[in-house]
Amino acid sequence: MAIQEIYDAVMEYDDTRVVELINQELDAGTDVKTILDEGMIAAMDMIGKQFSGGTLFVPEMLMAAEAVQAGLDVLRPHLVGTGTKPAGTVVLGTVRGDLHDIGKNLVGLMLEGGGFRVVDLGVDVDAETFITTAQENEADIIALSSLLTTSMPEMEKAVAAISEANENRNLNIKVMVGGPPINQNYADKIGAHGYGLDAPGAVALARTLVGD
């Protein structure tokens, strides 16, 4: 029942309570992975579902993500200690020539809340920086964001560069794309492995891509 309380505390955006309950569970010897999966990731999935369904909005998503972050800070050393691996590693950023980051940051928060390790490179990022960072971090996925129509050509170039790097440097990095002017057709056209309609969609997609 206590795991359910952690889930409830995330749904109520109560970060203090999340931390308190996790500490209680750890003291009681509850499995760390169970706390993470059933308490926090399950709650974040529900938040994502409500966000995509249009019954919950950006402030609430941020509040829930903050509660999960507070919980993750407590859990992290225990996850390392028990050898629990993240769901995958995602290198994230807005493509060259574009400084917009609101949507990209929401994707980052939801991926972390979904159990992924996220390396956020910020905005106006070169293709080569994405690739070398992904190599250094042994990332599974590079996630590219673009708000502007004018930066869409940069997204296309980045996808091509990643694909070339996969071939020439013997890598296996998946690339996913998103942003207001982006859609599935465009993602297919430029050769991305997937397109996320919104932040929860990006989490679902990332899970599929690392499961391949």
Binding site: P59, T150, P180
Partner: protein, 385 residues
């Protein structure tokens, strides 16, 4: 009778059909054209003049009178002059601090040259009541704001019979984001509501004070439209809960802004909201908004027929020509077809003003801009002139 430009616009805003669809181009900072696209348009049309910048922050041109006449544009813009002094400072060509002590940046690595806010006075830590009170707020009595306003209105009236559109920059939510930072601002709605409300009241005070002085300077009888707004939507949904957040905490401030304007001038008000605006439209009608811009038809629930059916008798739609796909990437024929479709759907019975969804973006080919406006010019509601 021959239709004047003003009559054409006002007919549409009163949900009546004029002779043809009214056209706006550059009536406000979000219905204009980015500087690179404007340069190409000038060259394409063989129109030669020095480009006047409407907003350096948004990288937007003020279309020249000759350009406006080429497309028989029905609106003319007037907006505040430059604030004098205060926090403003250019740190370098790509970094600017505004009158709210907000830092704006752009990148040179793009043809898109508009600035985004990246730091502000309340970004770090907890935003306290004391810090908000102690802040050196901009003054609506600053003489720069009204400088040139009266002269500009006179110039418009001497040049023709256009609808005068007074653009009042900066909504309270957007300035809130800019001063506090996007995520802290939204979280403060739950964590620090008292300070959030005070910040919003300070921003509303400045906006209202500026509106009062601008209307006075322009002459209330000379203005036809007041344009303001800020985004409440995203591509795939709403930024805020329309009932639990917008209606309770933002709408009362918007109502105060609208009432300030309407109590001083007999004008129509156009409200700008990008993204999925559908769930907010009933609230906007309730506070006295007459027109919605830019009608982002590619966002969730923003399909034109549905909008017209639900709100067409009470809300005028201003914009709607797709800048995310068709204008930049379509052919002139596709642009013409889409423009005709939007006019047919949104313009039925009046209630539509032709304009793009937001400013014409840097990569839009001039041929497509001409195709859009010429399609509007060739439109007729079937009435004798």
């Amino acid at each position: 009778m021959a239709w004047t430009h003003r009559d054409r616009i006002m007919a549409a805003l009163n949900h009546e059909e004029p002779d043809r669809v009214p056209i706006d181009f550059g009536g406000a900072e979000f219905t204009s054209i980015t500087l690179p696209a404007y340069e190409r348009l000038k060259k394409h049309l063989g129109i030669d003049h020095e480009t006047e910048v409407m907003s350096i922050i948004h990288s937007v041109a003020h279309p020249h009178e000759e350009m406006l006449r080429r497309f028989d544009v029905d609106t003319r813009n007037v907006q505040p002059g430059g604030y004098e002094g205060g926090h403003q400072e250019w740190i370098d060509t790509n970094t600017y601090v505004d009158i709210f002590d907000v830092l704006w940046k752009r990148t040179e690595r793009s043809i898109d040259q508009h600035f985004l806010h990246k730091d502000g006075p309340f970004y770090e830590g907890v935003m306290t009541i004391e810090a908000i009170e102690a802040f050196d707020w901009p003054d609506p009595d600053n003489p720069g704001l009204v400088k040139g306003v009266k002269e500009r209105v006179q110039e418009i009236m001497e040049q023709g019979d256009h609808a005068v559109c007074l653009y009042l920059p900066g909504g309270v939510v957007h300035r809130g984001y800019a001063m506090r930072g996007f995520e802290p601002y939204l979280k403060d709605l739950y964590k620090n509501r008292e300070a959030w409300c005070l910040l919003m009241d300070k921003l509303t005070d400045f906006w209202v004070g500026t509106a009062e002085r601008m209307i006075e300077a322009a002459g209330p009888e000379n203005i036809d439209i007041v344009y303001f707004g800020e985004d409440l939507g995203t591509q795939e949904g709403c930024m805020f809960d329309p009932e639990n957040i917008y209606a309770k905490y933002i709408k009362p401030r918007h109502r105060r802004m609208v009432e300030t304007v309407k109590s001083r001038a007999d004008v129509k008000i156009c409200y700008h909201c990008c993204g999925s605006a559908y769930p907010f439209i009933e609230h906007l009608i309730d506070i006295g908004i007459d027109a919605l811009n830019p009608v982002q038809v590619t966002a969730r629930d923003m399909e034109p027929a549905g909008l017209k059916e639900a709100f067409g008798d009470r809300m005028t739609f201003w914009g709607g020509i797709n800048t995310q796909q068709i204008l930049p990437f379509g052919t002139p024929e596709e642009v013409r077809a889409e423009t005709r479709r939007i006019i047919d759907v949104l313009g039925k019975g009046g209630g539509y003003i032709l304009n793009t969804v937001h400013n014409i973006q840097p990569e839009v080919p001039p041929e497509n801009i001409v195709a859009m406006f010429d399609e509007g010019l060739s439109h007729s509601y079937g009435k004798a002139a």
